[in-house]
């Protein structure tokens, strides 16, 4: 049984189902209570679960994460919401130093099963502080897991996996997709395992690695290339840490060519690591250099003109695919 849900509804459904299943799961964040969150993700949950399982907090991102860590040490599974992913910078120390290191410094005798939900990404005229893609900072920090779903199906399945995972998971939900990505979502426990990529389109000529809001324009570009006789395999990473090396290498085995597309900036975006790993481990399989099409090294501007100027889109992805295919 499945029904069509939006990406946002899928997240809400995952939260509701996990909270019903496990009394240790609870939500905390700013305006997540009766208001239902800035984007409406938690709407209805306060009504169903009450004050103590849907906790409105003061504005204090660092405490929100710290509180989550504390609760998790007593067996709870808190799901903390950052109102925008951009504000995760205010909770940085608690995430990278407190949560990411705890198991290690406890000699493996404890773990921090928290989820930090962070609405990320641009293309909504949000400007510098409502459009960021902060995923790479967390990929760089051992002890964390990082996921970034692109479909309603995955939004639900990955959130369930994240909540059940015993490690701190940063869950980037792309705000452009909230109401735009819609699709079938199975009722009940369809877990999308952390660490497994999804092949969205098969093809033998070029491998395109991407995630989040870049999946749809990438697929569109792949369709265009097909008309030119080039078959592009589009892999949606879904999990950024640990990323699915096996799936990447398997595709590369067929194509020998890779394009990486992401909305995060270029320098030390996840694309850098993917490229470096392919270089180290599959150099001899490459017929062309791994290329990156990303947001340039700048901030996400508010102006529609400025923002659109650099977001990868089907045209620019098509161009980049042609370059990789014809190298």
């Amino acid at each position: 049984m499945s029904k069509d849900l939006s990406y946002l509804e899928a997240i809400r459904e995952a939260l509701a189902e996990e909270m019903r299943r496990d009394p240790k799961v609870f939500i905390l964040g700013e305006d997540v209570g009766a208001y239902g969150g800035a984007f409406g993700v938690t709407q209805g949950l306060h009504e169903e679960f009450g004050d103590m399982r849907v906790v409105d907090t003061p504005i204090s991102e660092s405490a929100i994460v710290g509180i989550s860590i504390g609760a998790s040490l007593r067996g709870y599974r808190p799901v903390a919401e950052m109102q925008f992913a951009d504000f995760i910078s205010c909770a940085f120390d608690q995430i990278v130093n407190q949560a990411a290191t705890l198991r290690y410094r406890y000699g493996g005798r404890a773990s921090v099963p928290i989820v930090i939900r962070a609405p990320s990404g641009g293309n909504v005229s949000g400007g510098l502080y409502h459009s960021q893609n902060p995923e790479a900072w967390f990929v760089h920090r051992p002890g964390l897991k990082v996921v970034a779903p692109s479909t309603a199906y995955d939004a639900k399945g990955l959130l369930k996996a994240a909540i059940r995972d015993d490690n701190p998971v940063v869950y980037f939900e792309h705000k452009f997709l909230y109401r735009r990505a819609k699709g079938p979502v199975p009722e009940g426990d369809d877990i999308v395992p952390i660490g497994v990529a999804a092949t969205r389109r098969e093809g033998g000529d070029v491998t395109l690695l991407t995630y989040g809001a870049m999946v749809t324009p990438s697929l569109e570009a792949a369709d265009r290339l097909a008309k030119e006789g080039v078959e592009v395999e589009v892999i949606d990473l879904r999990t950024l840490m640990p990323f699915d090396k096996a799936a990447i290498f398997a595709s590369l085995e067929k194509t020998s060519r890779v394009l990486i597309v992401h909305e995060d900036v270029k320098t030390l975006g996840i694309g850098a690591e993917l490229s470096a790993v392919i270089m180290e481990e599959r150099f001899d399989r490459l017929d062309a250099p791994v290329m990156r099409l990303t947001y340039p090294d700048t901030h996400p501007p508010f102006s529609h003109i400025l923002e659109q100027a650099n977001l990868p889109n089907p045209d620019t992805i098509t161009g980049a695919l042609r370059r990789v295919a014809s190298y």
């Binding site: 009766a34 800035a38 003061p58 504000f87 205010c90 949000g126 090294d297 901030h299 501007p301």
Partner: protein
Amino acid sequence: MPSIKRTKFKLSPEQLLEMFYWLKLIRAFDERLSILVKQGKVRSGVYTGIGQEAIIVGTGFGLRKDDYICPLHRDLGSFLMKGVEPGVMMSQMFAKTTGLSKGRDSALHSGVSDLGIFGNTSMLGANLPVAAGLALTYKMEHTDNVVVAYFGEGASNVGDFHEALNFAGVQRLPIIFVCENNQYAYSVPIEKSMAIDDVADRAESYGFDGVAINGNDVLAVYQSTQGALARARSGEGPTLIECKTYRWHGHSEHDKAFYRTNEELAMWKSRDPIPTFTTYLKGLHVLSDQQEQDIVERVAKVIDEAVEFAMSAPDPKPEDAVTDLYA
């Protein structure tokens, strides 16, 4: 006609009229922005300060050009009082090159160093350490300049608030911290975000005075500010002024604000700072009906021209998304 001596700091009729003008202009500016959002002409998040103008005017009036302000999201009026042209401010909201950010961001996220205006990020509380740094330079220079820094009662729960006020207290910096306590942080009422009634009491943690005043009485705000300014200018250190007020609109123009009652809103609307002040001025014969009419017309003209200026101003060029990153 004698000058008004409401309490200690005297105001001439001309000054009172100027205050009146600012109240009207700032109200009109926000009201127009609200309409422009509904018309789909402004894409930015718009956070009006309608209902809170007495704070902006009462604290901003009589500041010197070489004093510094660190305003917040509801304080676009502060930019105008400090000398930014309405057309420039409107351009900022329209993402035009004539705006302070040249289209890179909207609202308060830009400043003007020559006018002593700091433009914050979105991160609540993050302007306060910066304000302390500005004030530190005045102390270093032994000048009598002052920094006026604004924050909401919700932002007073953020770590940066604490660190900044503590430093200001230790160094006895020439700074006034103005809390715009409008009862809500987005959907969260003050009772759910702090266990005290008056944010003013927090000053005690930092070794300086805090006062809670009627933020809808422009003269009360002015008097308190002048007292704090005089102390700061003579080296007696910081003051926290908590202004009790209310925002009439939702958190942003997209927020229906169902978390509060119509009665509450109506009660606060009955305390509208502008008619109260109008009646007061008329009682003193400082303001005639004709003068009021003239000011209303002048304000309308200023706003019309500002919108016209902004709408006909040039858009940024796509190339500018990647410029102005480094000096």
